[in-house]
């Protein structure tokens, strides 16, 4: 990765490489914006590279130079999203793809390591997540350590890349991908309502879920408008619910199931579950694939077909 970045910068193919750098804890990374060849050594790749970096591209939309970005499989769907929405121009991006065995969100995986323990290395194999620390190697079953989205990953190999940094990884059959959604669907209405009310009332309206989302790219978001005021600033169950349902509908058909909203949420609201429900319904209704997985398939709710059997009425 470092070599690829160095080469791209050296040959002035790109003016910027967006990748990952070591974070303030061994189990965190932070986005890195590399502009000089000499800085490329800051780049890292390890199982803690959870962040999706694709959305940062829109900040460089007006720059004269090309930007290279590191993407995992799921992140490539976000990139497709941005390309299809004309937020990013294909000819201005160099895609460094990483076929991915899964990543670990240290916040969610509750790794049982004492604070301050030095982590020497981490890796994901077919069946395990291995963490080398000063006090020995910790092994967790893959299913327990990995992010929920990685357990049923549909695109471990980026769907779009100019260069792939490893051998392709085959997708596992994802029969259970919507198991949790089905579970919630099976509940009686009152239980579902109480479940979501319980979560929505806790929302801080910090908008991290929106700001991190590759499908949320509106320059002026409805939730920031004061006139007309679609959702009041007040934090209460009613306004919070309005916020969540409107957002779910705004990203319907465009949400690429990257799970970043849920990862960012400081109060653990199961946002991916909400958005997965919409993905599942749209797949069933329109027979489409997960948004972003095919560059030639436009979002189901963002295109029309003359042979559409339904009338507009």
């Amino acid at each position: 990765m470092r070599e690829t970045a160095r080469q791209l910068l050296r040959e002035r193919e790109v003016g910027l490489v967006i990748g990952y750098a070591a974070g303030s804890e061994a189990y965190w990374v932070t986005p890195a914006f590399i502009k000089e060849e000499a800085q490329a050594d800051r780049l890292v790749w390890n199982p803690f590279c959870v962040n999706s970096l694709a959305k940062y591209l829109i900040n460089y939309h007006h720059e004269p130079y090309k930007v290279a970005v590191v993407v995992k499989g799921c992140d490539s769907r976000a990139l497709v999203r941005l390309l299809q929405d004309n937020q990013v121009q294909r000819e201005k991006v160099v895609v460094i793809g990483i076929p991915c065995l899964g990543v670990v969100d240290a916040k969610a995986a509750a790794l049982k390591i004492a604070p301050g323990t030095r982590i020497l290395g981490a890796s994901v194999t077919d069946g395990e997540f291995l963490l080398q620390t000063e006090s020995g190697t910790l092994s967790l079953p893959r299913g327990e350590a990995l992010c929920a989205k990685c357990r049923y990953c549909e695109n471990p190999t980026p769907v779009l890349a100019d260069t792939l940094l490893a051998e392709e990884v085959a997708a596992e059959p994802a029969a259970n991908i919507y198991a949790e959604v089905r579970e919630v669907e099976s509940w009686p209405r009152e239980k579902r309502s109480a479940f979501w009310d319980g979560h929505f009332q806790r929302c801080l309206r910090c908008y991290a879920c929106r700001n991190i989302c590759p499908a949320c790219t509106c320059r002026e978001c409805v939730f920031d408008q004061t006139d007309p005021c679609w959702v009041a600033k007040a934090h209460n169950l009613s306004e919070n619910t309005a916020f969540h349902l409107i957002r779910a509908m705004h990203v319907a058909g465009r949400c690429v199931d990257c799970g970043e909203c849920e990862r960012a949420c400081p109060v653990n609201i199961p946002l991916r579950l909400l958005n997965q429900k919409v993905i599942k319904d749209i797949k069933e209704l329109f027979g489409v694939s997960t948004p972003g997985s095919r560059l030639d398939e436009m979002p189901a709710l963002g295109m029309f077909a003359t042979e559409d059997p339904d009338e507009f009425n």
């Binding site: 900040n59 301050g116 920031d224 004061t226």
Partner: protein, 348 residues
């Protein structure tokens, strides 16, 4: 020893908390959702989480609610009538860590200065604060680096420190003493200075337990002379401009005031948390925005924490609770920022 020191057994603590919950609204840390600890009114000690260092969200909601009605208005019968909501009832806030108490001390001059804010001050006055010494810092805590003390919570009414199978209790204010007198039979006077020894011992143990203590010396002086730094661009390029770091911070206190009315004839005026990290925060009527990019916004947040609050009130704007560190989705870590600024300072 002083009559302000008492001892409380574990059972005594539980029965005292049960009594408190009956006599006052008792607010304490609870696990609202798996992994999310917040301050809520509780029915008794069984709901309380005792070993959270620190809670996911700070207790500031109880002083500066995320949405607070200031008054209701109505034009019924001609003219305008205003109605203020009832003031807060006396209540007990239990289980604050020393950093959270210190955060309240940092907020006090903001709301109690030239223009006293009756809403905040009313809530502050109505609250009896029972603090709990930390027995183990959280993974991102760094209170000693910003002048905090994880054991003694100056500013609390009562301080509880776990010591073996019991708790040492120190009345820090006359209000604290009154509370103890109101519940005779629960507290035994600590005549041998066990509490003091327990606190000192704990302080000694804790000193080595902080994973990462940034060195703040010289950082403010450096910032005094360097408003423009290319460094802020680097931080801003990563930042999402969300509200996590400000909303989880016990000392952040920006708010926005708005009116809500469905028919124009009746409605209410309220205030609501706002964040300097939001792009609309400084946008004025007419569209001008004096902090046009995330760079200015990020800089504002860190300068507020490390410089402005100090300039204005002589108090640190950051109490080292590490909540923003724990929750930032892109790992913008104030401990690292301090370290980086220090490094920049030493390179001139």
């Amino acid at each position: 020893m002083s009559v302000r020191d008492f001892l409380l057994t574990r059972e005594g603590l539980h029965s005292w908390l049960s009594r408190l919950a009956r006599d006052y609204p008792l607010i304490a840390p609870v696990e609202e959702e798996k992994g999310v600890i917040t301050f809520k009114q509780v029915g008794g000690p069984q709901e309380i989480v005792f070993d959270c260092a620190p809670s996911t969200l700070p207790p500031k909601e109880w002083f500066l609610p995320s949405t607070e009605e200031l008054f209701a208005f109505s034009t019924a019968g001609g003219g305008i009538t205003l109605q203020e909501p009832p003031g807060p009832k006396e209540r007990v806030l239990f289980g604050l860590h020393p950093c959270d108490v210190r955060a309240l001390l940092a907020l006090d001059p903001v709301f109690g200065g030239t223009y006293p804010d009756p809403y905040y001050l009313g809530r502050r006055k109505a609250t009896i604060i029972v603090a709990l010494s930390c027995t183990k810092p959280g993974p991102y805590c760094f209170c000693p680096a910003v002048g905090g003390d994880p054991v003694v919570a100056a500013g609390a009414d009562l301080l509880l420190t776990e010591s073996g199978s019991s708790f040492a209790v120190k009345a820090m204010t006359s209000r604290g003493e009154e509370i103890i007198q109101r519940y005779p039979g629960h507290f035994a006077p600590d005549e041998e200075g066990r509490g003091e020894r327990a606190r000192q011992e704990l302080a000694g143990q804790l000193a080595g337990m902080f994973a990462f203590l940034p060195d703040l010396r010289g950082v403010k002086e450096f910032l005094d002379g360097h408003f423009e730094l290319p460094y802020w661009e680097e931080v801003a390029s990563r930042c999402l401009g969300c509200g996590i770091c400000t909303y989880t911070c016990p000392t952040c206190h920006c708010f926005d005031i708005f009116d809500q009315s469905w028919d124009g004839a009746r409605g209410l005026r309220a205030r609501c948390w706002d964040s300097c990290m939001f792009s609309q925060f400084t946008r004025m009527a007419g569209g001008h925005n004096p902090r046009p990019t995330q760079k200015e916004r990020v800089r504002n947040r860190f300068l507020h924490k490390l410089k402005y609050h100090q300039d204005r009130y002589g108090l640190g704007g950051c109490v080292g609770c590490g909540r923003c560190v724990a929750k930032c989705p892109v790992n913008i870590d104030i401990r690292r920022i301090i370290g980086d600024l220090k490094e920049l300072a030493s390179h001139g």
